[in-house]
């Protein structure tokens, strides 16, 4: 069972994000980076499939600058077999289309039964790369996946996915792209022995030229801005409780319009 896991490095969810003074991006200084949480589910699911079939390979595919090797190494420490790191200045500010092109180019150089993507990356939140990747590779895709069962002959999978208010179960032929959703699994730790073993696992470095990518971005980000600061609250003071309650209901209904 061979899985290719597309994995992005993103700022830690606990990071206080600040927009830079020119409004062209975020302040990156002092940011702690982590594996995109949805991609961590992907890594875990790929490892479980390999364990279930007792053979195969889990390959991590990442696009990003030097700092991403730490995330790749973390996935290797969890148990993945090797990494492919596309590290190219020209791709650092790529849009989802260019990213999908690069992923597709790299994917076409390896063997896989399934490609996992996170259903979205928690930094840019486009939720597009997985879908585009499937389209570029001309293979089926199932998004928002919460359960995966691959048939013994690896020709198809029964997949559960989130739909509004419930679950949908679909059958998909392999190879395919699956995009991971919360609830798929509980990712394992990169254990200390895993970390030591990961030091010796290979990470293949590639540039855009190695992959022959010439795609141009279709999106241009114009400006980043912070959400408006929350306005100060209102205090009902010096009123008798019954009057205060009435006034509160009136404000909630007429001003805040929440009831």
């Amino acid at each position: 069972m061979k899985s290719l896991v597309c994995m992005k490095q993103v700022p830690d969810t606990e990071t206080q994000i600040k927009v830079n003074s020119q409004g062209t991006g975020i302040v990156t200084e002092g940011i702690k980076y982590i594996i995109n949480p949805y991609d961590e589910f992907s890594v875990e699911e790929a490892l479980r499939l390999k364990e279930k079939f007792k053979q195969g390979e889990v390959v991590i595919l990442t696009i990003g600058p030097d700092r991403c090797t730490e995330s790749i190494r973390t996935a290797l420490a969890m148990g993945a077999d090797k990494g492919i790191h596309i590290n190219d200045e020209s791709l650092n500010s790529a849009d989802p289309f260019v990213v999908a092109q690069a992923l597709a180019a790299a994917a076409s150089q390896v063997d896989y039964n399934v490609i996992f993507c996170g259903h979205r990356a928690i930094d840019d939140d486009f939720a597009e790369a997985g879908a585009m990747l499937a389209e570029l590779l001309q293979i089926p895709q199932v998004t928002l996946v919460t359960k995966v069962e691959v048939s013994d002959d690896k020709t198809k999978a029964i997949v559960e996915r989130d739909v509004e208010g419930g679950k949908e179960t679909v059958e998909v032929s392999l190879p395919c792209v699956l995009t991971s959703q919360k609830g798929l699994n509980e990712p394992r730790y990169a254990s200390l022995p895993g970390i030591m073993k990961a030091k010796k696992k290979p990470i293949d470095k590639k540039t855009a030229a190695d992959l022959g990518i010439t795609a141009e971005a279709r999106l241009e980000s114009r400006e980043y801005s912070m959400p408006p600061e929350r306005k100060a609250g209102k205090k009902l003071e010096g009123m008798e409780p019954p009057d205060a309650a009435k006034e509160l209901v009136r404000l909630l209904r007429n001003e805040a319009k929440v009831i």
Partner: protein, 380 residues
């Protein structure tokens, strides 16, 4: 954290994230409850072992994992970050109990005692201190009298971390007459007849770790459980202290660091006289003094860790680090409570616990006074 960049590489960063995640998932949700209960579930040893946390610094041969001193630093720092010094001390009590076995034990002893502990199946404790005294290690009174291929051991030990449920205790006993040359180390298995836990001790801090007084009434311990030669115990104990003192220094630094972080957070939002506490210069300067002390202490401790990692003996330096970091921790925690006002005295606020947990750090593993005796013998 920007300090110590040179000491930590990729594998250390990944390990730090792993331990932080472990603390976040397995410890933090329950830590308040465990503090109140005075112990944590035994199962946590096994969970920590699965992630490899107990095996850091032990050879693979004994179910450990090849690692360097800064992997140890990372595990200790991040476990301390759970906010309960007691939990970190209890979960890692093997870190003071096993090194003498590793350093002085035979192959057979290592095989028998080390792997079950590193796999989280058995709990190990170190038993040196006695009701009659802790600092004066050379005066240990628990007697071990040879009887064929056994020792018959009688006496008592106190303030033993993990003592109420340890499966094995690396114990200092007197195998001959007076003096430190007559002390030996035995691994006492606690299911031996005559061994009992006489008391679970109530403490000022470190609540989540169980601390016990132990009674030994003619406990028969096989001679095969003696570490090294008869009379070699004192040297083994002294050697062991170096790592213990490093761990306690690291714990002091992180405890202080957390007290500082909590204070900064609180001072930003708490208002007095119409402005946040950070609006008062006296508070700002106090926070700066705290931050400066923590930074200096941490950098010095890292330096000492690097020396130990490089195989230097660094006895003077580690003794200094222990004195300094524990004092810094006390001082920073004191100010942290002060900045929190009455809330700093309340259980709901982390600084209340940090303040209590800080106090042991200049006592356990060799008191500040004993550290000064050690240093004075080197520099005078």
């Amino acid at each position: 954290m920007n300090s110590g960049l040179d000491y930590f590489g990729e594998s250390h960063h990944i390990l730090r994230q792993t331990v932080a995640k472990f603390v976040e998932r397995e410890i933090k949700p329950h830590v308040d409850e465990w503090e109140e209960a005075g112990e944590f579930p035994r199962d946590l040893y096994r969970k920590a072992a699965e992630v490899g946390l107990l095996g850091v610094a032990y050879p693979e041969e004994w179910s450990g994992f090849p690692s360097d001193i800064f992997h140890e630093v990372v595990v200790n720092e991040e476990l301390t970050r759970c906010g309960s010094g007691g939990l970190a001390a209890g979960l890692m009590s093997h870190a003071i109990a096993l090194p003498p076995i590793l350093a002085m034990g035979t192959q057979e002893q290592k095989e028998r005692f080390i792997p079950p502990v590193l796999r989280g199946e058995k709990i190990a404790a170190l038993g040196i201190t006695e009701p009659g005294g802790g600092s004066d290690v050379g005066n240990v009174k628990t007697r071990a009298v040879r009887d064929g291929d056994h020792y018959v051991v009688s006496g008592s030990k106190t303030m033993i971390t993990s003592g109420t449920r340890a499966d094995l205790v690396t114990m200092a006993v007197r195998t001959g007459g007076k003096g430190h040359r007559e002390i030996s180390l035995l691994v006492v298995e606690t299911d031996s007849p005559g061994f009992s836990v006489s008391k679970k001790l109530k403490k000022m801090g470190w609540w989540a770790s169980d601390t016990a007084e132990l009674a030994l009434d003619e406990v028969r311990v096989p001679v095969a459980n003696r570490l090294g030669e008869e009379g070699a115990g004192f040297y083994g104990i002294m050697h062991n202290f170096r790592k213990e003192r490093l761990y306690l220094s690291l714990m002091a630094n992180i405890t202080a660091q957390m007290a500082l972080e909590e204070s900064v957070k609180y001072a930003r939002v708490r208002e007095a006289f119409g402005k946040p506490l950070t609006g008062f210069q006296v508070t700002r300067h106090k926070l700066v003094d705290m931050a400066t002390l923590v930074e200096i202490s941490r950098e010095f401790t890292y330096r000492v860790a690097a020396k130990i990692g490089a195989g230097m003996n660094a006895v003077k330096e580690i003794s200094m680090a222990k004195i300094f970091s524990a004092e810094v921790c006390d001082r920073v925690c004191h100010h942290a409570v002060q900045i929190h006002g009455g809330y700093g005295f309340m259980r709901e606020y982390l600084v209340e616990r940090l303040y209590r947990d800080s106090r042991i750090l200049s006592i356990g593993g060799g008191t500040t006074e004993i550290m000064k005796e050690v240093i004075s013998k080197i520099i005078l």
